[in-house]
Symmetry: C2
Subunit: 500 residues, 2 copies
């Protein structure tokens, strides 16, 4: 190996005298980088301080200080009467795609189903491009009252005491918890004290919190299938044994679970609006679930992700509101009712568990921004939150109607629609048999329209192919052209498949 | 048991006709509540719809609809020709301090040391009162440039596309990751690509993420003792086996760990400024740690919690910057450099682990607010972040000097001070022997001055009694009067103890 002489290398050092960063720091960082990168190899003689200072147009003292610092750090060494030399550093492996040597832990990636990973990859590439029509789970970001939200945020920053810049209580801000207690009483018939509420950074964090606080690795939990992908994957990441429970026309099929699985330490369900099929759980089924939980001491995790939005009948009360025995852990989120980037959600737990959850929350992620919590509390107390939900209920009903109508007009040969009385998405069953809905979805994505294939929500169940179409985030006037585009893509795919 | 007649009860229903909440919902919620509360007991005959409507001054149709809804929900039942009756609901146990029946899981509270719980309780009561002088770990909230931060936030809300209200990428916003890569290169000599960075909601979340991604229950980890309480407790919550490693004058005593403990899957350390003793790890010790990790394949978790603040020598480069073998997981936070309520921190990991961490982050808590991330990226790119750190370095040095001086003037009989060259707190060793620093701290708190006893940072080590005093959050002109008050409290305590 031919050793470079220092000269050529040092002339490229590019020290910026007008930069905000002090000269010594610029030089020090760059030299260290050259050594760690192996561009300045061991035993290379460094230029004399006077020479380097002249080359770079900086003072000799600066260079001298930097050499001394790097000598102290062991990057250089000074040999009496002979100059300064680079010390050996094995740097060739630096940042070279490191592999964990003791790979005893299952990687989170491995805990995900391959389909989730592939879908995740596809979604990731488009995630920040645009929120595109028919992406499920995204509210109407175009209709969000940014002005009112900004006012709430800026009021907090302008008027709150310094304490609101600090950590705050681990279970959340009392004002916000009280506003949430009011909200769930009004909307879901839930009676709870603010002491039962833990503020989280969204529903997903509430689910991990529940698992880490109440479950152990190897515990069996029962989950709806099809169901929420990220909850299932997060339980598996924590070593929990997930068992699939099918959905019938009354919802979570508890008889099936009892028949086929070991007893569940917890069961996860979406009674208001099954995710993603949309079934509303019957009262009888609700009582059966509560009965099972009471008898066996298992927990019911009620995921009420989009319960604010229902379009025909009044909603049945939440499971939590029917629970006489403290078995229900109710999870709500502001990602659907306001916007995902807010990262605020909540867990309502039996009073006896509140202290444990608050402690676990502190240990896992400290807590949630006090400023954001205060801004949201103000937003709710001022009536802006309720007003927004009322407006969105009207807007989502309109968008749903438009989607149903245009699917009927332009794609009735392709899809059979499931009635949709609640939430932010519908199921369009693909009429053609023997097709892969994942492949269909790939073709739809390629045209700039979003959707999710039903099969990615499935764990062990095999259902007919279908697409999940979110209507909440679809701007009204785009619905028809995008349905036409989607129908064309699907038709094209089916024709291709018939030919090949 | 004497059954109440409905009449008296119903007259108190208090329906508000001018409320925003629809009448049917008010009535429905209140009746449901009465039934669940057991105030309307089973078999009670409900008033006729006409009667109740007249009593409440609302339409009969509204009452009729509510009855029908409650019948559908199973709260009431209609008997042909006889009226409407309350159905049995066991509600006496509702919300009555529920106990988990299958308490197989260790409660998070149990994972905490008793001292932490008691200190936690003391701290909790004062947490939102005021941030008081000498609370360790809190930056100068009084000097935070709220105006500039508000501008950054409001610019994002006013100008960003709707996509910034959505979920965003799980590992964090690219703009912010690039700004962080620049920052750590400049301040800590760390060379990393933005691909190695995972944005978290603070350092604590980064530590849980590391444990859940790379460690398993029963794994042994080595931790500094005294050391960071919440990290130790969070590892125990996750079932990890924490072993204590003492601190000598070069820092983390790796020889002691090798001699006394089984091999560690990970070791947690604070090389820049040992938490809480303040020792700066020597270069030799840094290289020994890296060497051990290279040879055994264990991970080094470098907690660089307040490295932005150093007052004399230039800081040694981070362990991460010396790591040639991809063993270091570097954790940084904006809680100290900006403010805790921001809830933003980051993990820098070897490139090969980035995808696993991003997946785990999605599963555990989705991610961090995109709006906040974008606001911080702007704040950093505009130079506000660097300017703030420079100002705080000056302010903290001034506050440190003032604290050292006034302790010398007013409390030299009580404390021996450890030199303090970095960070936001110092250690004041209590000269009196045989006293409990926790009891001393209790007396100090009672006077409205904050501090933490050194012993709460200890796991198995027993050190001399001491107080940890945070100077960063102490307003300049308050330092002297608060030191006087603190000294009086301690003197008083010692006198009382001598007498008893």
């Amino acid at each position: 190996m031919v050793k470079k002489t220092g000269g050529a290398l040092f002339s490229t050092l590019n020290i910026n005298v007008s930069s905000d960063t002090p000269l010594y720091r610029q030089l020090e960082t760059k030299l260290r980088r050259l050594i760690l990168d192996g561009e300045l190899v061991a035993k290379t003689r460094m230029p004399a301080t006077r020479q380097l200072a002249a080359d770079l147009g900086i003072s000799r003292l600066t260079v001298k200080n930097v050499y001394e610092q790097l000598i102290a750090e062991g990057f250089l060494c000074a040999k009496q009467g002979s100059g300064t030399y680079v010390e050996p550093v094995q740097s060739s492996e630096l940042h070279s795609g490191v592999v964990a040597r003791k790979q005893r832990k299952v990687s989170p990636i491995a805990a995900l189903s391959p389909r989730t990973v592939s879908i995740g990859a596809s979604k990731a590439t488009t995630r920040l491009d645009r929120v595109r029509a028919f992406r499920p789970g995204i509210p109407a970001l175009d209709l969000f009252p940014r002005r009112a939200w900004l006012d709430a945020c800026s009021r907090v920053l302008r008027t709150s005491s310094d304490d609101f810049l600090g950590y705050g209580p681990s279970s959340g801000l009392e004002d916000l918890k009280q506003a949430i207690a009011e909200h769930v009483l009004d909307h879901r018939g839930i009676k709870c004290s603010s002491k039962q509420i833990i503020i989280t950074s969204g529903a997903q964090q509430a689910f991990s919190l529940i698992a880490i606080t109440l479950l152990e690795a190897e515990d069996v939990v029962w989950m709806e299938d099809p169901g929420h992908i990220a909850i299932r994957d997060s339980m598996r990441l924590l070593g929990i044994n997930v068992r699939s429970v099918p959905i019938d026309d009354e919802g979570f099929s508890i008889d099936d679970a009892i028949r086929h699985h070991p007893p569940g330490s917890a069961l996860f369900t979406t009674p208001s609006h099954q995710h993603p099929l949309g079934v509303v759980m019957s009262l009888q089924r609700r009582l059966s679930l509560l009965d099972y939980a009471s008898q066996t001491g298992s927990w019911i995790v009620e995921d009420d992700y989009d319960s604010e939005f229902h379009y025909t009948d009044r909603a049945l009360p939440a499971l939590q509101a029917l629970d006489n025995d403290g078995r229900v852990l109710y999870v709500g989120s502001f990602s659907k009712s306001l916007f995902p980037a807010l990262r605020l959600g909540y867990l309502i737990c039996p009073l006896g568990l509140a202290q444990s959850f608050a402690a676990a929350q502190t240990l896992l992620s400290q807590n949630v921004s006090l400023l954001q919590q205060k801004a949201l509390a103000n937003f709710m107390l001022d009536g802006n939150f309720n007003a927004h939900i009322r407006k969105m209920r009207v807007a989502y009903r309109r968008r749903r109607d438009k989607l149903i109508l245009t699917l009927e007009q332009h794609a009735s040969d392709l899809f059979e629609q499931e009635p949709c009385h609640a939430g932010m998405h519908l199921v369009a069953w693909i009429k053609a048999s023997g097709v892969s809905d994942s492949e269909v979805a790939e073709c739809v994505w390629a045209t700039g329209v979003d959707c999710l294939p039903l099969s990615i929500f499935c764990d062990t169940q095999r259902l007919r192919p279908g697409l999940i179409l979110g209507f909440a985030c679809a701007v009204d006037e785009k619905i028809e052209p995008y349905v036409i585009r989607l129908a064309e893509a699907v038709r094209h795919f089916l024709t291709d498949q018939a030919v090949s």
